[in-house]
Every structure is written in C-alpha cells, then in structure tokens.
C-alpha cells in the first residue's frame, strides 16, 4: 500500500517537474514542451507544409498496441485514473482515446487486418465546420485540434466526426502534462504531437513507438519527404473516401 502511494507520489513529482519546466517556455495556446535536442519554432505556422501520415497496415502485427501506449504516455493519457466509485466497464467507454487499434475483416474475402485509428486531420474537417465557437480549428500546416480555452463542451464535433476520433473528458483532472493540457468538460483528439512540431522535432510518438515501422509521418507538400515518397511508391487509401475530406492520414493494405 505505502509502496504504491510512494510510487504515485514520485510519478506526480516528476510530472509536476516537467510541467514547471515546460510552462516556463510556453506562452499562448500552444504550450511547448521543453526539449534540449530541438529548437522551438520561431516563425508562425504556414501552409507551406501539410503534415500527414502513412500507415502500412501490412506491417501492423496482430495484438500489437505499442503506438497506443506510446501516444498515451506522450500526451499524458496514462495519467488519468478512474474516478472513485465508477464502474470499470462504463469508465472504459468514457475514458479518452487519441489512438486505438481496430481489427477489421473484409465482408467478401474474409481478409483480416489490424490498424491504428486516430484523428485523420481532414483538409475539410466536419468537426471544425460544426464547432459553434471555433474551438475546433485547422492550423495552416494541416493539424486539426481543439483550443481548450474556448471549447464549451457541446460535443457537436464528436457528433460530426466520421471517424469517432474525438474524446470528451468526463472526469476531474488532477494530473496532466503541460504539453497536452486537458480539462474536465472539454473535447480533445490526436494533434499529431503538436508540441513536437512546434519544437522542431520531426516524428510523432506513435511513429517512434512502432516496432514494425508501420507509421511514416512528415510533410505531404515536400515531394522529397519520407512520407511523400512512400505514398508515391505504393497504392494507399483514405478511410471514407466517399466523404471527400482529403484526410491527412492514409492507409496502405486495406
């Protein structure tokens, strides 16, 4: 018991430490993480870049969820705890998920594939169309995210997203990372690790975590980027291409 408390306390202290360090360099809406190895962004975001991702589902191993773990650690989702007295099954439906693995079977051929799903960073995002306050917005570089200062928690964006990519925070928050601030009653979703983008880093946490190199991330506007080359090389698709949202996340092998 006391060992557990100690552990939690230590974890809390380290979280608070990161938070304090990060807030020191983090004015404005986009809180930047303090990382030694990369330079924080100095210029405003432009549309010269469009961030995107290719997921090669043929490389995804059945039962693997390293990307999920990596994302949750990076963005502080692993710090959330079930409220006291909650029903574990219900809590599982209520807890936020930025990325999840899905296993699908083709209705005709019976072919089974496993793939990670997250916000698809649509070029024409239905979530931002419906958001009454403009809290849901698309940055010039193609990243779609929520400004938690003006989100009123109406959840209309969740009704509108065709990929069920968004989560609402149902509980009080006592521990969080300053790079991914969250609050009860606000909506959030995958933001392509925006703190890393603003800090000059080139990868996402899910990409780093993937042991099978199934995820390639980068600038879709740069023909020489890894992701552009990989996209040119082999056929790939968008989920729900019929909706013509021109998603920033593409899949190969489904």
């Amino acid at each position: 018991m006391s060992q557990k408390i100690d552990q939690e306390r230590r974890q809390f202290v380290s979280v608070a430490g990161v938070a304090a360090a990060a807030t020191a360099v983090a004015p404005g809406v986009f809180l930047l993480g303090a990382r030694a190895e990369a330079e924080p962004r100095k210029e405003p975001v432009t549309d010269k870049v469009r961030y995107g991702m290719l997921i090669d589902t043929t490389k995804c191993a059945d039962g693997c969820s390293e990307c999920v773990t990596g994302c949750e650690k990076e963005n502080g989702l692993d710090l959330l705890r079930m409220p006291e007295g909650a029903d574990p099954e219900e809590w599982d439906r209520q807890r936020p998920r930025w990325i999840r693995t899905v296993k699908v079977k083709d209705r005709l051929t019976g072919r089974v594939s496993t793939l990670p799903m997250m916000c698809q960073h649509c070029e024409y995002p239905p979530c931002t169309d419906v958001c009454p306050t403009g809290a849901s917005f698309r940055r010039a570089d193609g990243i779609v995210m929520v400004d938690r200062h003006i989100c009123i928690g109406c959840r209309y964006c969740m009704m509108a997203c065709p990929y069920k990519a968004r989560s609402f925070i149902h509980e009080n928050i006592d521990r969080q990372l300053s790079i991914a601030p969250r609050g009860k009653g606000c909506v959030e979703s995958c933001n392509f690790c925006v703190h890393r983008r603003d800090n000059g880093e080139t990868t996402t946490a899910c990409q780093d975590a993937c042991p099978h190199d199934a995820i390639v991330f980068g600038d879709l506007n740069d023909p020489n980027s890894e992701v552009s080359k990989a996209l040119r090389e082999k056929a790939n698709t968008q989920l729900r291409a019929d909706l013509k949202l021109n998603t920033g996340v593409r899949y190969r092998g489904i």
């Binding site: 998920r97 296993k103 209705r107 009454p132 989920l239």
Partner: protein
C-alpha cells in the same frame, strides 16, 4: 364575435402557491442534479465517448421544437387572419417563450463547460449551424416578446399583423435550424437527410399543439373559465391533422431510406433489431404517440370527450419524447460505417464490434435535469398568466363564435 376580455389568472392563492411549490421542488431537484453532474463531471451520467448526447438532449430538443410549435396558434390568428385563434394568441406567445427558455436551459446546463457560455455568445464560427441557432433562439425570444406587446398594448395593436408575420417566418427558420443540426451530419447514417428539417417543423406543430391544449384546458379549468366545445373541437382536429402529418413524414423518411441499399442496416436496426430503440419507435412513437391519439381524436364519439382529448395530448407528448430518444440516441447507438465494406471484429474504442450497437443507459440525474427544464417552462407560464392578462375571461362558444372566424 364579441369583444374578448382578458384577465389575470384568478385562482385562490393557496392553490397557486401550492402549484408553484410542487414545481419548485422539481426545480430544486433538477438544480441539485445539475450541480452534481457539474461538480463530478459527466462520468456520473450514462453518456460516454460513444454516445455523447444523452437524455438531456432528448428533453432539450423536444422542448425547443415544441416551443416553436406552441407559437403556431398565435400565427393562425395573425398570419391567416383567423379571428377565433386571435383570442388564443397571448397564451401561445407566452408558452412559446417559456418552452424555449426551459429547453435552452437544459441544453446549456449539459455543456461540459457551461461557465463558458459567454464564449459561445461572443466567439462565433458562422459555418456552424449551432452558432446560427444561438442567434435564432435569442432572436425568437425578442421577436415573440415584441409580438406579445403588439397584442397586449392597444397603442401597438397596429403593428400586430407585421409582428405576427415576422414571428411566424422566424419560427419556421428556427425549426429548420434545429432539424439541420442533424441533417448536416454526414458522418452518421441515421441523420444526414435534408428531410430532417421539414420533419422537425411538422413535429413542432404537433408537440407544440399538444402542450398548448393541455395548458389551456388546465389553466381554464382551475380558474373556472369556460371553453366552448366548438373551439376545443377545432383545436383537437388540428392536433389530429398535425399528428397525421408527422406520421406521413415518418413513413416517407423510412421508405426513402429503405430504397437506398446503403441504409438497409440502419433501417433494420431501428425497425427490427434495435432493442430499446425499436420498442420506443414502434410502441412509443408510432403506436402510442401517433396511431392511438389519431384514433381518439378522429373518433366521432371519443373525440368529443374532454378526458379523451387530454389523454390524446399526453400521448402525443410522450410519443414525441420517445421520437427524440430514437432520433438522438438511436442515431448514435448505430455504429458508424468507418469501413463500409468491412466488419470491425475488435476495437480499443468500442466501435460497434460485429455491428453491436453502442452502449448507453441513462442515469437518474440526466432525467432530473430534463424534468427541471419542463418545470422551468411551466413555472414561467403559470407566473406569467397570474401576473399579466394572458388568458381570455371566456372562450365559450358565444364569445368566440367560430362561424364568424
């Protein structure tokens, strides 16, 4: 047609205060439920990241839809020049405002961040139909207030027809906006149909009329004021026609859906396999909410009995709430087709594995919040008729003589 005299609600004080006390209890309970959900967060509700709009939305949307419908009676008086309805216009306007306030309150108190309402009032995204709705709602309250003023203040009487027209057009736009909240959601199969807007309009006619009838009969009965048979029969016939029109729209909606193969699974879900949603659709909405009331209202004998008219109105209202439950929650419970040609066999986020519907069990506080909204609407109405001259002294046949209407 004789001149109509209006008088404040004259029931004895103990009765009046007793009524307010009962409503006050409901308001207090609703308030406590709200504080509880607010303090703890939405995890104490049945809502989750799969079903994001729950019972509060069912009540809120029902009240908002009914609000615009309650204004129709006034509109018949001014827009279509039907004199018989003119005497009913004041109560119609008051009820419309009261219902809208009740509905909006529920909506706002269910927000994750209700304290940021000021943000919603100052920061707009004009692409969002929700943002438009905020204007439409606030505008509705202002326009109906002016409309009521032109009815009640002799000097302003000359503006009455113009105000009536503006109010009527506004209410049509308002309900179009409410229906469009669903009609614009391309992601979900149950919504995404332009038909949603006209369907919501016709639903508003029926639900607003049912509530109006009940409040009218209740306030008159309690105060010993007469309502003539002829007027009542007209109103109940109108209710019957509105319910029939809703029935028509429901049939068209599902038939067009059945025509397109891509909607077959959704239709099978609502009409056959959806468990609680299927039951609420057939038993709650279709049978009890439409067929039985139509049977009562159009029955040559039953339709003349006041008790039967009350019963039919109550059924229409309950059916309307069932309808909202099917539309709002059933539409979310049906899993989204993220992979149209595939079946999801495992998911880390409850994506409707093997086509299973998503899970939602409403919690008590959600219902209490909804009931609180109804209590707000009724309290505002009763206080209004008590303080101001909203109710005609008599609606007896010889006073409103429909033959001159």
């Amino acid at each position: 047609m004789k001149k109509i005299h209006y008088r404040e609600w004259g029931i004895e004080s103990p009765r009046y205060w007793g009524l307010l006390a009962v409503l006050g209890v409901l308001l207090a309970v609703g308030g406590l439920a709200t504080l509880y959900m607010e303090h703890e967060g939405h995890w104490v509700t049945g809502m989750n990241n799969q079903i994001v709009w729950g019972v509060p939305h069912v009540f809120a949307i029902f009240l908002i839809v009914a609000a615009s419908g309650a204004l129709n009676i006034a509109a018949f008086g001014s827009v279509f020049g039907k004199k018989i309805y003119k005497s009913l216009g004041r109560l119609s306007g008051l009820l419309a405002m009261a219902l809208l306030v009740g509905g909006l309150l529920v909506l706002v108190l269910d927000l994750g961040q209700p304290s940021r309402l000021i943000v919603a009032m100052t920061t707009y995204n004009f692409k969002s139909i929700f943002a438009w709705n905020i204007y439409l709602y606030v505008g509705f309250l202002a326009i109906v207030a002016v409309y009521l003023f032109t009815m009640m203040e002799r000097k302003a009487n000359k503006y009455y027809p113009a105000a009536g027209l503006v109010a009527f057009v506004w209410r049509l736009i308002l309900t179009t906006g409410t229906g469009s909240i669903f009609g614009f959601l391309v992601a979900r199969q149950g919504y995404d149909a332009a038909l949603m807007a006209p369907m919501f309009i016709i639903m508003s006619f029926a639900y607003g009329m049912a509530i109006y009838l009940l409040v009218l009969m209740f306030t008159f009965k309690l105060d010993g004021r007469p309502i003539g048979d002829k007027l009542l029969l007209r109103l109940k016939n109108l209710l019957g026609i509105f319910v029939a029109a809703v029935f028509y729209f429901v049939v068209v909606y599902h038939l067009t859906n059945l025509y397109g193969t891509e909607n077959h699974e959704y239709e099978a879900f609502i009409l056959r396999d959806g468990g609680i949603y299927t039951t609420l659709f057939w038993v709650g909405w279709v049978l009890l909410g439409m067929l039985v009331p139509m049977g009562i209202l159009f029955h040559p004998g039953l339709g003349r009995s006041r008790g039967a008219i009350v019963a039919a109105s109550v059924l229409v209202i309950l059916g309307g709430i069932a309808a909202m439950y099917v539309i709002v929650i059933g539409g979310q419970a049906f899993p989204m087709a993220i992979f149209p040609d595939k079946i999801i066999i495992e998911s880390g986020f409850h994506d409707g594995v093997n086509g299973q519907p998503l899970h939602y069990v409403p919690s008590l506080p959600e219902f209490l919040l909804g009931l609180g909204g109804i209590a707000v609407a009724l309290t505002a109405t009763f206080v209004g008729v008590r303080l101001l001259k909203f109710l005609p002294e008599s609606l007896a046949d010889e006073v409103v003589d429909p033959h001159h209407g």
